[in-house]
Amino acid sequence: MRRSMLFLPGNNPNMLINGSCLGADAVIFDLEDAVAPDQKDAARLLVRNTMRYMDFGGVERIVRINSADTDYWQADLDEIVPQKPEMILLPKTNAAEDVLAVDAYMTALEEKLGFGQNTVGLMPLIETALGVENAYQIASVSQRVQAIFLGAEDLTADLQCKRTKGGAEIAYARSRMVMAARAAGVQVYDTPFTDVNDDEGIVVDTEYAKGLGFSGKAAISPRHVEVINRIFSPTEKEIDYAYEVLEAIELAKRQGKGAIALHGKMIDAPIVNRAKQTVAMARQLGLGREED
């Protein structure tokens, strides 16, 4: 379950040590945009040490390294991969080749460290027009890719348009990303909402992303985490319905029926799959039923 992913600046010790307390399902230690060039090595070591010594409990640790067109990404991986983060977030991924280059470097590191292959996952950050057009290839080129992530700020710069709260300018990119990810069988995450003072805007933007099929959403402010978690969690009604579907299917099986209707609507395989996903998530959130 990865409803929310919270960016934490890699050079801010106070944020790093409190990272596991801020409510996000995953934290992204940022070595890229949040860190000035002359602080890259300090942030890299700070993040490494944080991961080495701090217990993040059930909170996933993801690290945004510097992009493959910089001089930093290999040094980033050298320090970070040994700490076994769940994933590496690779910024400015434009094409499948970018993934392969980083994948090869990570494979070599994993071999050297005696880790199994793909111990550390990869999440390409797609934030250019070229990247969006290549989204499916990027998502499907390597087993290491577990998810793709849309970055709208850089994308709109590349599109030469203004980033708006309504997000019409990224509507295509969002849909394309979801389509590509689902086709490739990986998760897909939405860009952060950047106005930390707009309490209504974050709700609208997150509901929109959920409605499109995103798996979750990133946040640059801890203030957004709770809203994102809530919107990406199943509602009580959805959980009840999911259990009803599973009970109906169970009954159909016992009665030897191939198909069954619930509230006058036929229950088919996609509905059952969705019900299973909802129940699984409810269990993770402690909202499952006792008989589980």
């Binding site: 106070n14 409190n18 307390c21 801020l22 409510g23 701090m54 402010s221 801890p222 203030r223 709770e226």
Partner: protein, 468 residues
């Protein structure tokens, strides 16, 4: 009868202030107060020595007190709170006789019962008439409630009102009536408005503070106390205010109509009143301009005395009818004893205020504090000073988990049922020490510099001098 005198010197002389007497002050002008310094300077100039100062609080603006102590103009202090300016000097042992700390409830109780009699009370009044009817609601130094001054006015042998806004008789909307007042003095300024009330008190933007506030609101929601008739008090700290905001959202969403908000009142509590979360505010002290405006204009916003607020022996106190209070701590130990008197190095930098009273009176006393501040863990084996005993503290909320006092098994189960991150205080301590390390034990001196008087009137704890 002529009460209006020409000068402070004349008032002091007429009040009969002499060596060894007790003078009293309230702290509604907080860090903008001029009156305590003004009176002590005048008394010093008049050659008066060995005064006992009973001030509801001592702020950093009162550092001239240090000089008066050194010159033996002042030889005793009783207060409910002492900021670091004077506190650090006291901690170094400049005053021979230990300071006596009381709470906002026990101070007026002891004044009323004669245990700590006051010879002359000097009451800073933002507006007064020539006969001494006075209030904090009007004037250029308006501070709102005068709740802490009321016991002084009622029980001191002589009462001097000092004002910078003299109005025509009778001041209709008075807080303290003329029948308690002996003399009135007009001065240029009783305080600096900038230090008296904040323009606005802001909720925190600190992510850790917001996490704690969110936990705090959920604890209240899960406690079973949040229903129609609910009553609530919270401090003016950023995280406490954020908790009030989250609580307001829950109350409005669930259409819960509370009974009253209590305490030092901020604009956030006024917002809750105006939104229908409460039917009244019971106000012993205003913290910001919005609260001052509200107490002046809204009859549901009531001014109360410190006796009515929290006195242990009163025939009734609002604190004893309180459901939930959110309080802070500089340290809390594994027995839930709270220290708000000293910093981690043992220097006096605070005091109970109403902490001890509302902890004792409320049904749910919640401490909200980060796991560590400036590398020092908040949870310790034993606090440097017991301000509020652990028996009155129900739950500690930090960003890293919620610890419930083992005395409150039902509450713990309720929080667990609500899916809140409940942990035990020992685990929280160990978790924090993994990050911060274990701090060196504080070495303190053997000379008592302050006694903390408990609500039962006995010495609850002693603060010793700091050894450098």
């Amino acid at each position: 009868m002529q009460k209006l005198v020409k000068s402070l010197e004349e008032a002091i002389r007429l009040a009969g202030l002499t060596d060894g007497m007790t003078v009293s002050f309230h702290h509604h002008l907080r860090n903008g107060d001029f009156v305590l310094n003004m009176v002590l300077e005048q008394a010093a100039n008049m050659g008066i020595r060995e005064l006992n100062v009973n001030a509801s609080s001592v702020f950093d603006c009162h550092t001239p007190l240090i000089g008066h102590i050194k010159n033996r103009v002042v030889t005793g202090i009783q207060c409910n709170y002492m900021a670091a300016g004077v506190g650090s000097a006291i901690s170094q042992g400049i005053l021979e006789k230990p300071v006596e700390f009381r709470s906002h409830g026990t101070r007026p109780r002891d004044i009323a019962c004669g245990k700590t009699p006051i010879d002359v009370a000097f009451i800073a009044a933002p507006a007064a008439d020539p006969m001494g009817n006075c209030t904090g609601k009007y004037g250029k130094s308006a501070c709102g409630s005068l709740g802490y001054a009321m016991a002084d006015a009622m029980f001191a042998k002589k009462v001097v009102v000092i004002t910078d806004t003299l109005v025509d008789y009778p001041l209709q909307d008075f807080s303290i009536p003329e029948n308690y007042v002996d003399y009135v003095v007009q001065v240029d300024a009783i305080g600096d408005p900038k230090g008296i009330v904040s323009g606005t008190t802001q909720i925190t933007r600190d992510p850790v503070g917001l996490v704690m506030a969110s936990h705090a609101a959920k604890v209240i929601e899960a406690s079973g106390l949040l229903k129609d008739g609910f009553s609530f008090q919270t401090g003016a700290g950023g995280a406490s205010l954020a908790a009030a905001k989250f609580l307001k959202d829950i109350m409005l969403e669930k259409n819960i109509r509370g009974s009253f908000g209590l305490g030092g009142i901020t604009g956030y509590m006024v917002d809750m009143l105006q939104a229908g979360c409460f039917q009244s505010l019971m106000d012993v002290q205003c913290f910001d301009l919005k609260a001052v405006e509200s107490i002046r204009t809204d009859p549901r916003h009531r001014e109360i005395s410190a006796l009515h607020y929290a006195a242990p022996s009163a025939r009734g106190s609002v604190a004893d009818n309180l459901d939930v209070v959110i309080l802070g701590a500089t340290e809390i130990d594994t027995d839930f004893n709270v220290n708000v008197h000293t910093d981690s190095n043992g220097y006096i930098m605070g005091g109970s205020g109403g902490h001890t009273d509302v902890a004792a009176g409320s049904k749910l006393c919640m401490i909200i504090a980060p796991m560590f501040r400036a590398r020092l863990p908040i949870v310790t084996d034993r606090v440097n000073a017991i301000s509020t005993p652990g028996r009155d503290v129900n739950v500690l909320v930090t960003q890293g988990g919620i610890a419930v006092n083992p005395r409150n098994k039902e509450l713990k189960q309720r929080l667990l049922d609500a899916g809140l991150p409940v942990t035990d205080i020992q685990t929280l301590k160990e978790k924090t020490e993994k990050i911060t390390g274990v701090p060196q034990k504080l070495v303190r001196g053997d000379r008592p510099v302050a006694h903390i008087i408990g609500r039962d009137g006995e010495i609850q704890d002693t603060i010793y001098n700091v050894v450098k």
